[in-house]
């Protein structure tokens, strides 16, 4: 049957089960918008294309489904780049559709032409320029397949305007086969056996968990393995939520702002069981001294992350869930008294926990930012979905909100994108209209995508934003304080809008707390309010994030409070 490109687009999205698109129109996507007008697929009109991509990404992280966005050519497309790079670094499945000038004009520097496939090549998992409407269905099918399988990631589909209006024979391709793309899911059984043996031999093993546990939905298996073997768990920023933070075997986050216990455990362990983590520099610190005495097991779906930063003694390529299941059944056959074997190690760990827990000095006069996060945890009973911006706000959230379940922390880990958290919260709220969604923000970051307040108001998305307002680009200021003799070069935000009035101007609700006694009250009020709420917490201006490992130092060398 013949259909127009635009019709094919909608048919394919429907087949993929897409319920919502985050987008922003323009000349080159008019035919797609015209058809969207008549369909059941929901479209959320953002106020900046970067917001559309972050929202689609937040939606994807909250649900595990593919997030979708649609923007016009040229500036619409280039505005998506930061969003795409953010999703790429954290392996988030999104498909970005960009309009393009008509095929005959490509390459002529036509009005609003940008080579977006070229521009995004290094930050997409794959990309397509569709030059013929006859290929559109196959491309869309492949795009969703590639975005969501293997190690997930963003895929860009660039569609020239004439392809949207051309008619083509349409048959939905039920099967996808991309010969150059065959992700390995099943872990090699011989290698898994080696892991089981290494675990049985080890005196001081440690599970080291990254975001892969979450994308593979393997947190139940992880919990089972950890409990069965009494092996403690440390996580990267991306792994938070993959293992319950309040579990006795949880050591919290590791790395630059990780817990003392996590970093000491990583330094002293004899066996690292790394799952779905990249061993990146924020985690390893000085890599030569990282886990020097340990045997390293590295389980990852992406062969390129294995052996990239740290040598893996037992590498396994595959899906974490599949491998953990097999590992658990092998472990059950081992005749080891795990509890007894790890008794000494766990005693040592308890000692570390007792000696240097994550802590700050409470104040009766000024609001401590850490206190705000503890209070958010309390009033939401740990059941909210939390997004963050980037900087101190992000690290305090990681340290003080006790994430219990996967997909409850949504944060830009790899790229560290300021301005991410708020649109991501909008995406998560679209997915879960009845959940409490908090964006924990800095006063700098929130202003990078503040325009999305209009989106939240328009679609009645009752997202809460907690601004930890220190009138500084706090994290950068912290580095200047510690490593540049307090020369606060351009990190003081001397002029701010009145955030309460700003929220009101957008039609949202603005609240402010200036005293520790007000924190809980304001939070409760925010939660009661069925509207977007922006809360301006005036916090201790020069509070620092501790522990901290200075860049390039081994992770055992932490600056403590």
């Amino acid at each position: 049957m013949k259909k127009t490109g635009a019709e094919i687009f909608i048919e394919c999205l429907t087949k993929e089960g897409v319920q919502v698109i985050f987008g922003y129109p323009g000349g080159a996507v008019l035919p797609l918008y015209d058809i969207l007008f008549k369909t059941h697929i929901r479209h959320i009109l953002v106020r900046h294309e970067q917001g559309a991509v972050h929202a689609a990404d937040g939606y994807a992280r909250a649900t595990g489904k593919v997030g979708v966005c649609l923007v016009t050519s040229g500036p619409g497309a280039t505005n998506t780049v930061t969003g795409i790079a953010t999703a790429y670094m954290d392996s988030i499945p999104i498909v970005v559709f960009t309009g393009q000038v008509p095929t005959a004009m490509i390459g002529n520097d036509a009005f609003q032409e940008a080579d977006i496939v070229g521009i995004t090549r290094p930050c997409t998992k794959h990309s397509y320029l569709v030059k013929d409407a006859n290929n559109l269905a196959t491309v869309i099918r492949e795009a969703f397949y590639i975005a969501s399988t293997g190690k997930p990631g963003p895929v860009l589909v660039d569609i020239p305007k004439d392809v949207m209006t051309a008619s083509a024979a349409f048959k939905y391709p039920e099967k996808v086969h991309v010969r150059g793309y065959q992700p390995t899911y099943e872990g090699h059984i011989g290698q898994i056996k080696k892991v089981a043996d290494a675990m049985a031999m080890s005196q001081k093993p440690l599970l080291f968990i990254g975001g892969g546990i979450i994308s593979s939905s393997a947190s139940n298996e992880l919990l089972e393995l950890s409990e069965a073997t009494h092996i403690p768990v440390t996580t990267t920023l991306m792994g938070l939520g993959g293992f319950p933070s309040n579990h006795p075997l949880s050591l919290g986050m590791c790395g630059m702002h990780g817990t003392y216990t996590s970093n000491m455990s990583l330094t002293n362990t004899d066996l690292i069981i790394g799952i779905g983590a990249r061993f990146d520099d924020r985690v390893t610190g000085k890599v030569d001294e990282f886990a020097a005495g340990a045997k390293v097991i590295h389980i990852d779906i992406d062969p390129t992350s294995i052996g990239k930063n740290v040598i893996a003694h037992i590498p396994i390529v595959g899906d974490a869930k599949d491998i953990l299941k097999k590992l658990i059944s092998m472990i059950k056959k081992e005749k080891v008294n795990w509890k007894k074997k790890h008794h000494e190690w766990l005693t040592q760990i308890e000692e570390w926990k007792g000696k240097h827990p994550i802590a700050y000095k409470q104040s009766k006069k000024v609001i401590k930012p850490q206190f705000v996060i503890e209070q958010i945890y309390e009033v939401t009973k740990g059941d909210a979905i939390i997004t963050t911006e980037v900087g101190q706000n992000q690290m305090w959230t990681a340290q003080y909100y006790k994430f219990k379940k996967p997909r409850t922390l949504i944060t830009s880990g790899g790229l560290g994108t300021m301005g991410y958290g708020f649109p991501a919260a909008i995406g998560a709220q679209v997915a879960f209209p009845n959940k409490i969604i908090f964006d924990i923000a800095g006063d700098g970051s929130i202003q990078m995508n503040i325009q999305e307040l209009a989106t939240a108001v328009q679609y009645r998305l009752p997202v809460k934003v907690a601004i930890l307002n220190n009138c500084f680009l706090g994290m950068v200021r912290q580095w200047q304080e510690l490593f540049y003799d307090r020369r606060y070069s351009y990190t003081c935000l001397e002029s701010h809008p009145d955030f309460v009035k700003l929220a009101e101007a957008y039609g949202a609700v603005g609240l402010r707390a200036e005293h520790p006694d007000d924190v809980k009250k304001v939070l409760k009020e925010a939660i009661k309010t069925p509207k977007p709420v922006l809360i301006d917490f005036i916090v201790d201006r020069e509070e620092n994030v501790y522990p901290m490992v200075p860049a390039g130092a081994p992770i055992s060398k932490m600056l403590l409070v």
Binding site: R121, H126, G180, Y181, P303
Partner: protein
Amino acid sequence: MRHTISVLVENKFGVLSRIAGLFSGRGFNIESLSVAESLDPKVSRMTVVTRGDDKVIEQVTKQLNKLVDVIKVIDHTEEKFVDRELALIKVNAEPQLREEILRITEIFRGKVVDVSPKTYTVEVTGDEEKVDAFIEMVKPLGVKEIARTGRIAMSRGSKALTT
């Protein structure tokens, strides 16, 4: 160490820039690159010569494999293989030099493929060393221009690299 890597890729728009971008973006070096259609017109074959320690080369091959349009990657350095280059060399061919050029060309089993009153264009094939050696021999006579293809390679024996 130097590695010669053959890569089968989808013969699609933009594939070359994906490969080139991978090398430049990750700081891998390319000493030479040659690309053309393979037996199957839907597939191109690339030969990349690159340099790096084992860790770098492991990343190069893994990263190549990770590209969706890459179908197969083999590093010939781990096996026996043959490799060739082709060069066109435009040499000064004043009458008194012609005899010498022809003699050298003969020794290298090259071919004169174009003549003009003042120049000969010689085609030479062989491994890189042979092509280098030829160029060194004719340089004193005055080389005006050279064009080289970069290396192509194939495993020895009956094993074939196909999709």
